[in-house]
Symmetry: C2
Subunit: 200 residues, 2 copies
């Protein structure tokens, strides 16, 4: 007995990551009950985002301009490039405010099952970009510590090292996360943290 | 370094019930990465909903027409009226397909702290509507089994019984939910289920 417009809206909201049928219904109800405070602002924010957000033609970040604010900023270091899997990883690193160099977003990981090869990830474009960056000294490969992430990291490392043997390569350190309790950590993390122990 | 449009969109998405800052970011990324498949359909669904969804002037359900499809359907029983707290409760009962009568949505529960009194819940309008329904035989008070819900149910029952003493009143049965394991149920539910035990 629900109107088709409502059913359609609930279906679309339920498809958002993190939402399901129940939370989709709650979100739809919330939006419709608060047309002025919630629905209208979201509508205009979505319209603006749809119109203005583009993919940066250099690093594949999402921004309103291309090249993006990071690529075009004179304050960013030109000698380091950080390779990440996804825009959300770039955002996470930016939130930590601990990296001041350039980024490159792969947009995924290599996956034989998913049909994602080096061409889909634009490894050729990445190498071409790296060759153009004349001040580059170091490439930080900051991919996830998953099997797919590490396989991709290995492939990217090998391909870039072949093309630019003069560059330094690094990866994020493995170890115990801050606040992590040993009892709750998996054996792999503990082994890695123990092997990479630092002198005090 | 994120564009203000993105920050604004993430903020609005994070405010949806069931979403937080992290899932808001994920939802925003998902929408922007899938402009054709996700953002545009959601945009038009929201626009349509904003334009077409209205509150039914009889039962306060949300629909594209007022009186809503339930109030105006000749197939629905005219002799029972079910009083619910929220539109989501009406939807839940409709999904169960076990009630074929009329509805009335209170839109909340009585709350001294929240400043919600009988006027805010439209108890007067409800009584006026009940007096107009000439075929009405029974009123099902289907409010939540919470303290607020049961307080409101008690008040609504008393007010309606005073105005229409000839009507039958009922409430949803309390007991063990289907699939419920005794060990996981609270003492209150178990006590109620035991006291209301049925002969076999």
């Amino acid at each position: 007995m629900q109107s088709p417009q409502l059913v359609h809206l609930i279906k679309l909201l339920s498809r958002l990551p993190g939402l399901g049928p129940r939370s989709g219904r709650r979100a739809a109800l919330h939006l419709i009950k608060n047309k002025e405070q919630a629905l209208s602002p979201l509508l205009s924010a979505l319209t603006q985002a749809a119109e203005s957000i583009v993919t940066c033609n250099q690093c594949k970040n999402l921004d309103t301009i291309s090249p993006c604010h990071i690529c075009s900023s004179p304050q960013r270091d030109q000698d380091t490039l950080c390779i990440v899997e996804d825009v959300s990883d770039l955002w996470a690193l930016e939130r930590s405010a601990s990296f001041k160099g350039q980024y490159h977003v792969l947009g995924g990981t290599l996956s034989a099952i998913g049909g994602v090869g080096p061409e889909e990830l634009g490894i050729g474009t990445l190498i071409a970009r790296v060759l153009m960056l004349s001040n580059l000294r170091e490439i930080v490969i900051a991919l996830s510590a998953t099997v797919e992430g590490q396989t991709t990291a290995h492939y990217v490392h090998r391909a870039l090292q072949e093309a630019c043997p003069h560059l330094a390569f690094s990866a994020l350190a493995h170890g115990i996360p801050l606040g992590g309790e040993l009892d709750y950590l998996d054996d792999g993390t503990l082994t890695t943290a123990l092997m990479a122990r630092r002198a005090l």
